[in-house]
Each structure stands twice: as C-alpha cells, then as structure tokens.
C-alpha cells in the first residue's frame, strides 16, 4: 500500500522558519506596546485599572493560543480513540500544534509568579488572601484558591497536557522511521484514559485559570465552554494552516477537498456547540435570577460590554452558522480559510468577553487596542515557536497505517 502514497512536499517552507527571529522580536515589541496601551485604559472608578487590564489581556492572549493547542491535543487523541482513518494525513499538524504546549506553557510563568510572589489582585482577586476585605463567599473559597494549592493544580494540569502532547508526538515520530503499526495500536489503547485525564485537566484548568478571575462566581459548564471554543479555534487554525501550506506548494495531494470539507463540518459543528453551551449557561442563570450567579453577567451587561455580548451572538454564532452551512462554501478552500480567520477573530472577542469584564473595567478604545496588540504579539511568539518546533519534521505521518485510506478519502462529486 505504501506505493500509493504520492510524492508530496511535506516539509515546512524554509522561509517560514527564517521568520522566527523577526516574529519573536515583533511579539515582544507588541506585548510591551500593549502594556503601554493598557496603561491608558480607563476605569469606572478612581482607581487606575491599567495594570489589571494588561494582566488580564496577557492571560486572555495566552489562553487564545493555548486553547487551540489543547483543541489539537484532543483532536489527536480522539482520532486515535475512534480509529479514524480520514484524518491520518492532517493529524501530524495537530500533533505539532499540541507539541508547542511544553514551551508555550512557560509563558504562564509570569502569571504564576504574580500569584506566588505577590498579593496583587491584578488577575485573581482572591490572591490578596484572607482578612483583606474579600466578600464572604470568596473568603470561604480561599481554602481552594490559595497560591500553594493553585500552583500545585496548575502544575498537574500542564503536566497532563505536556505529557500527552509529547507522548503522542514522539510515538508518531518514531513510526515515521519504523512504520510499526503496533505504535498505532498502543496510541489507540491509551487514548481513552488520556482523554479522561485531559478532560479533567481542561475542565478544572478552565475553572482555575479563567473562572477564578471572578472568584465569587461559579459555573459548572465553564470548562465545556472553553472546550467548545478550543475545538472551534483549533479547526479554524487547521483550515488556515492547511490552506497556507498548500498555497506554498505543500501537502497538495495529501490534503484534498474532502479533508477541508470535513474540517469545515467540524468547525460548523463546534460553532453550534459553542452557541449551545454559551446559551445554556446564560439561560439557566438568567432564569434562576440568583444574585451570586448573575453578578458575572451583570459585569458583562454594563459599561459597554453588553454590545460585545450582542456582537458575540451575531458574529460567534449567527453569522458563521449561516455562512458556513452550505456545502458549496465548505468545499472552497480560500473561502473557508477566510471564514476560519473570522472564527479566530471572534474567538479573541469571546476570550476577551470571558476574562476582561471585571468590576470597574469598562470597554474602552485603549482596552480593545491594548488587548488586540497583546494578542498579535502572542500570536507572533506562538508562530515563531511553532515554526521552530516543526523544524524538519514531516508535516504528514508518512508511515501511518491509516494514511493510504486517508488519501483515498472521497465522499462525493
């Protein structure tokens, strides 16, 4: 069967790797620039909110890249779990995206340092500690939300993700040389347990890293919400990456229209799933109308955030839902790549809407600008990391036993 595999260019374009130093420099400049911009973001009260806005922007931009990496890790595992053959030719790109997590998580260290070495409430209000005038409901949660316990949990979450990402990548690399199909069986066997660990880590990671920015509030569906956004942005990144690689003469035969069509279907599915989860969370809290549950939404329904919320309904759900519904659209690579770009754009707004609207932080031009520049900087850093991580690695798992089937993949005219 190996003879069926077309002679395709499966390496990253050399000029992409050459961009890495420029990207790193641009990324650092953007993040610093963002600090400056956020400094001028206005608050509703007397207090200056600049440093809070920057810290939260940093967190949301960090989570932006981490979310689609986690999405790719899940994708890799679930493809093994269900023994999917169609995805064999694109799975390596997902493995590579997930493989950036070990290095990317280093960028969480500043946040961790803020928690461990200071008592500043810039990101996590609970960080001030007991007896500092926190509301009773937060005070009682300090047994869970304290620097030591928080750090331990963070290490566990990232430990699970890093282990899974490294293991799947290195095993798949090993198969590139040996072509041993036992490796695939092994990866399949452990996909189930690892997915369970991954789900727990993602769920509680979402609680700790993002939800505890508003420690009084709680939502049991929050982890699923982040998961929905992660998968959605992951498929968007995949579509864009495949499109760009093909534009540069890579993977021209390995990734065909059917693969694009399927990634687009998944993206469409997760648009709906995101809408479903986001609305479920809102509906229950809106209907119950209990103060401690609705406060989070209250922050997001005033000081200009309400327009961001409405924008999300329109642009994170309605527009891409109708826009990518048609088969015709899904089979047009350039068109889908633009929709994927749009999805990533609204995913940024979604993360901003989840993290930034805190007490005393209204929407302002400087906030949006600072956040956007921070995001651009972090994306530059991520892109540099990705190209360095890929290096000479083949972009397709060339000896995957499923690959011939994936290449013969066809569903219709």
């Amino acid at each position: 069967m190996a003879s069926n595999i077309p002679n395709d260019n499966v390496t990253l374009p050399a000029n992409w790797r050459g961009l890495a130093p420029i990207l790193v420099a641009a990324g650092c400049v953007c993040v610093l620039l963002s600090l400056g911009l956020c400094y001028f973001a206005s608050g509703t009260g007397e207090e200056a909110v600049g440093i809070r806005v920057f810290s939260l922007s940093y967190l949301s931009s960090f989570m932006f890249c981490l979310s689609f990496c986690l999405g790719s890790l899940f994708f890799v595992m679930v493809q093994h779990l269900v023994r999917a053959s169609w995805s064999a030719s694109i799975r390596r790109i997902a493995e590579l995206l997930a493989f950036t997590i070990p290095w990317w998580s280093l960028l969480f260290l500043p946040v961790l340092a803020l928690v461990i070495f200071t008592n500043e409430p810039w990101i996590y209000p609970w960080n001030v500690g007991a007896g500092q005038g926190l509301p009773a409901i937060v005070e009682s949660k300090l047994q869970f939300l304290n620097p030591l316990w928080f750090t331990i949990r963070i290490l566990v979450y990232f430990g699970v993700w890093i282990f899974a990402a490294r293991w799947y990548f290195s095993m798949s690399r090993k198969q590139d040389e040996s072509g041993d199909s036992e490796i695939t069986l092994k990866l399949q066997k452990w996909a189930g347990p690892l997915i369970m660990l991954f789900a727990l880590a993602l769920n509680f990671g979402a609680f700790d890293i993002m939800m505890s920015t508003d420690p009084a509030w709680f939502s049991t569906i929050y982890g699923v919400y982040l998961f929905a956004g992660s998968m959605l942005s992951f498929f968007a990144v995949m579509i864009i990456l495949c499109y760009l690689l093909q534009r540069n003469g890579r993977l021209e035969k390995m990734v065909n229209t059917e693969h694009f069509h399927d990634m687009s279907k998944f993206q469409f599915g997760f648009i709906v799933f995101w809408g479903y989860i986001a609305f479920s969370q809102f509906l229950l809290y809106w209907y119950g109308n209990i103060p401690e549950e609705t406060l989070w939404y209250k922050h997001r329904m005033e000081h200009g955030w309400q327009y961001i919320g409405l924008l999300l309904i329109a642009c994170h759900f309605a527009l891409p839902f109708l826009g990518t519904m048609s088969r015709y659209v899904r089979r047009r690579k350039a068109l889908m790549a633009s929709w994927a770009g749009f999805i990533l754009f609204v995913h940024w707004i979604d993360l901003m809407f989840l993290i930034l609207p805190q007490e005393g932080i209204p929407v302002s031009f400087m906030l949006i600008a600072g956040n956007l520049v921070c995001l651009i900087g972090m994306i530059c850093l991520f892109a540099a990391l990705f190209t360095l991580r890929v290096g000479d690695t083949s972009l397709v798992a060339v000896k995957d036993p499923w690959l011939p089937e994936a290449l013969a993949y066809q569903v219709g005219p």
Partner: protein, 456 residues
C-alpha cells in the same frame, strides 16, 4: 418520457432496460462512467455498501434537498418565535418568574426544538418525495441474480425510459464494460391479486387497533362499584392546596399565605386613591390622627401599621365599614373624566348587566329577581332599595361608588365584577336615572317642545 401503458393481457412483459452485474466496485465505477459518458441519464447503481465516487460516476447532480431542509428550518424558527410571542406576550400575557411577557431567552429552547423538528420532517418527506418513495415494487427484483446486490455483487441499470434508450445499443455497451452478466429487466407479470393471508393479516391488525377504543367506550358507558383505577395517582391527588383550606404545613394552619410584609399585590397600588376608594383617605387620616380610638392608617402606601391586622391591606375596607360610614370624607363631585357620553354608555351597559336584575331598569327596586321573589310571597324578601329614595338621592357620588364596590346589607360588593372606571360609569348612570325620574319642568332644555303625557 411518457410511455404507453402496457395492455393488461399483453403476452410479452414490458422491458425496463438492461441490468449489468459486476464482481467488484471498481468495475462498476468504470462501467458507470462509460455509460454516463455515452449520454444516458436514467441510470442507477446498486451496491452492497456505499461506494465512494459513485455519485460522480453516475453523473448525479447535487441534490436540492438541503434547500428544503433550510427553508423548513427557517420556517420552524419563525413559527416558534411568532407562536411564543403571540401566546405569551400578546394573546394571553401571563407573568412567569417575574420575566417580561416577551422573554426572548425563554423562547430559544422551543425555537431550537421546532427548527430541528421542522427541518427533520421536511428532510425525511422531501427525501421520500424526491426519490419517489415508497415504491412497493421494482422490476429489478424479478431477476433472482439481483438478490446478491445486498451481498457481494454490484449492479448497474440503464432504464428503458431514458431519452436515448436503444435496447440493442445499451446491451452491447454494458456487455463491453466487463460485466459478468447482462440481463433485460422485465416487468413483473405475476398475479396482482393480493394474497389471502396478507388480507387476513391486515384485517386482523386493523381489528386489533380497535380494541383499546372499544374498551374505553365500554368503560365510559358502564357503571362499576369498584374504585376508580388511577393511572396517574399523583395527578388525581395533587399535593397542592385548595383556597381557604387547612394545612399542617404552616404554623397558622392556613394553606393560603399572607402577602409578604411591605409588599403590595399587583393592581393594588391605587389603594390610597380617592378614585379607587370613593372617599379621600388623606382627609380621613387627618381626622383620625386627632383621635386615638381607631386604627391609625398610613394612607400613603395603603398599609396599616400599629394594629394586629398589620400588613393585611384587604382588611382596610373592612375596618372602614366597621367605622361609622357616615363619617367618611366622601368624594362629592365626579372625578375628572367620568362625565362623558362614553362613560354614560358604559354605565348603562354595566348597570343593565349587573344591577337591573334587582334594582330594575329604571332603578325602582323592581327588577325581575324582586318580582319573582314577591310572587313567591315567602315573607322574608326585602325589596331592593329604590334608587329614587330621598336617602339615595342625597348621597354623594362617592357614597354610591362605595356601595357598588363594597356592597350594602343584602347586596354584595361588585368589586370583582366592575373595575374602578366601570363603577364610576355606573354611578354616573345612576345619577342620570335619578335625574330622569325626578325631573321638573325646569329641567327641560330651552326650545324643546314637551308634550305632557296622560300621567301628568
């Protein structure tokens, strides 16, 4: 495309084209492409499993089915939103959980369901329609070899109804495609009489469906001394309490709860309004504050304080009745907006609907109820008050209003039947009646030529 209908007694079964049999899907795909490229459009393939690329090989155009689904889904969305808005916000506004009548978030789950339901049904039925299903018989089944289409063989069929169909050409074409067998598809000429067993089975099934209905009918029309069989016991015996009943759940033993202290029920905000009361509560409070013998009223928010009846706004009128009614500072003049032609007509209507049965159409206390009671001559019937008594004529409008609202003697209050506006309309009409029955020559407007009747 139409073809002559075969004669019933035709000896030769009608041909439906040619069918070719292949051993694997690749041969079938090649053959399908070849037949497609020869210009035939009415062709179809039959395979034991889905074959990738068969649509393209057969030249099947993308289906229009998604448009049916989309339109039905959009219809479902709009139907659900319109329906819920019309029900909850327009036709039967009802407060649920203190939300607005048009609560769009609450509409979304139903909207989602109806969108899915409409599109699912439309997809199914449109698919059936587009495929011409259900089709009870197909000539292909005549050939026993075709049974292997669900097993290990692949078939290609060129329909004789194709525009360019030519029997010999098609057979030769198919024979050239590597088919292991090319057969003519013949019309099923077996007897079209429905088998007796099938008829019996269908009749039995129909009969069986009638059984539940017969049982229900029988039970509805027969009497039984055994207790009723409760299918849903907790629906027949619900834990909810009836009004005015007792309960052990609350310390005071009442199943109904008092309004929460400091709250006012919907529609009771006007309790301190003379228009609503018929007297001026402010004036009353002023006069009461001087004396210490009665409950002090906080008339501003219609709530009593400093008494054991605190919080029970409804008992206020009771307290008033207990107090000397003559003392109340009655509204003396019609409130603004009451004296008008429309209010008069409304008052006439409401008076005739609610009051005339006892008081009579002219207000003499000779309504039909009264006439009937007097005819029965049971002795204890007290004739309703004539509205033309001096006592009533002298009453201020607020007093009459108060009587309509709260009742007097044997007459019950009409607060539940008439709202404040309607009560004032009735007062206006009563005043007009009094004027009409007790008019003098001076009441006749200038220029009206009045011919005095025999009664004068």
């Amino acid at each position: 495309m139409s073809h002559p209908k075969p004669e019933k007694k035709s000896s030769e079964p009608k041909s439906f084209g040619w069918m070719a049999e292949y051993e694997d899907e690749n041969k079938l795909l090649d053959a399908a492409r070849k037949v497609r490229d020869s210009g035939y459009t009415r062709i179809d393939a039959f395979t034991p499993f889905p074959v990738h690329g068969i649509d393209e090989a057969l030249g099947i155009k993308p289906t229009v089915l998604p448009w049916f689904t989309f339109c039905a889904g959009a219809t479902g969305t709009l139907t659900a939103l319109t329906m819920q808005w019309w029900m909850n916000a327009y036709d039967y506004p009802y407060i649920i959980s203190g939300k607005p009548f048009a609560s769009w978030p609450a509409f979304i789950p139903v909207t989602f369901e109806l969108t899915v339901l409409f599109s699912a049904f439309m997809t199914l039925f449109a698919m059936l329609g587009l495929n011409g299903l259900p089709k009870l018989s197909n000539a292909l089944f005549n050939n026993p070899r075709f049974d292997r289409a669900t097993d290990d063989r692949f078939f290609l069929w060129v329909d004789s109804r194709d525009k360019y169909f030519n029997s010999d050409k098609v057979r030769n074409l198919l024979a050239d495609t590597g088919a292991i067998e090319v057969d003519e598809v013949k019309e099923d000429d077996s007897s079209d009489i429905v088998p007796r067993k099938l008829v019996l089975a269908i009749l039995t099934a129909i009969g069986a469906t009638l059984i539940p209905g017969v049982i229900v009918l029988n039970m509805r029309n027969s009497k039984s001394s055994s207790p009723r069989w409760h299918v849903f016991f907790d629906m027949d015996y619900q834990p909810s309490k009836r009004p005015q009943s007792k309960t052990t759940l609350f310390v005071d033993g009442r199943s109904q709860r008092q309004p929460v202290q400091g709250t006012i029920a919907r529609g009771d905000l006007d309790l301190a309004d003379p228009y609503e009361l018929g007297y001026d509560p402010d004036q009353l409070a002023d006069s009461r504050s001087a004396s210490t013998r009665l409950v002090s009223l906080n008339a501003q928010d219609g709530q009593e304080t400093g008494s054991e009846q605190a919080g029970d706004a409804a008992s206020e009128d009771g307290a008033m009745a207990a107090a000397s009614e003559a003392e109340l500072p009655w509204v003396q003049e019609f409130p603004e907006g009451v004296v008008s032609e429309e209010m008069f007509q409304l008052g006439k209507l409401k008076f005739e609907q609610n009051c005339s049965v006892c008081h009579g159409y002219s207000g003499y206390g000779d309504g039909l109820v009264s006439q009937r009671a007097l005819n029965l001559a049971q002795g204890y019937w007290l004739q309703p008050t004539s509205l033309h008594d001096d006592r009533i004529l002298e009453q201020p409008v607020g007093r009459i209003y108060y009587t309509i609202k709260n009742g007097k003697g044997k007459m019950g209050g009409y607060a539940a039947s008439l709202n404040a506006e309607e009560r004032w309309a009735v007062v206006l009409y009563v005043r007009a009646l009094q004027r009409s029955q007790n008019a003098s020559q001076a009441d006749v407007p200038e220029g009206v030529d009045l011919e005095l009747g025999a009664a004068e």
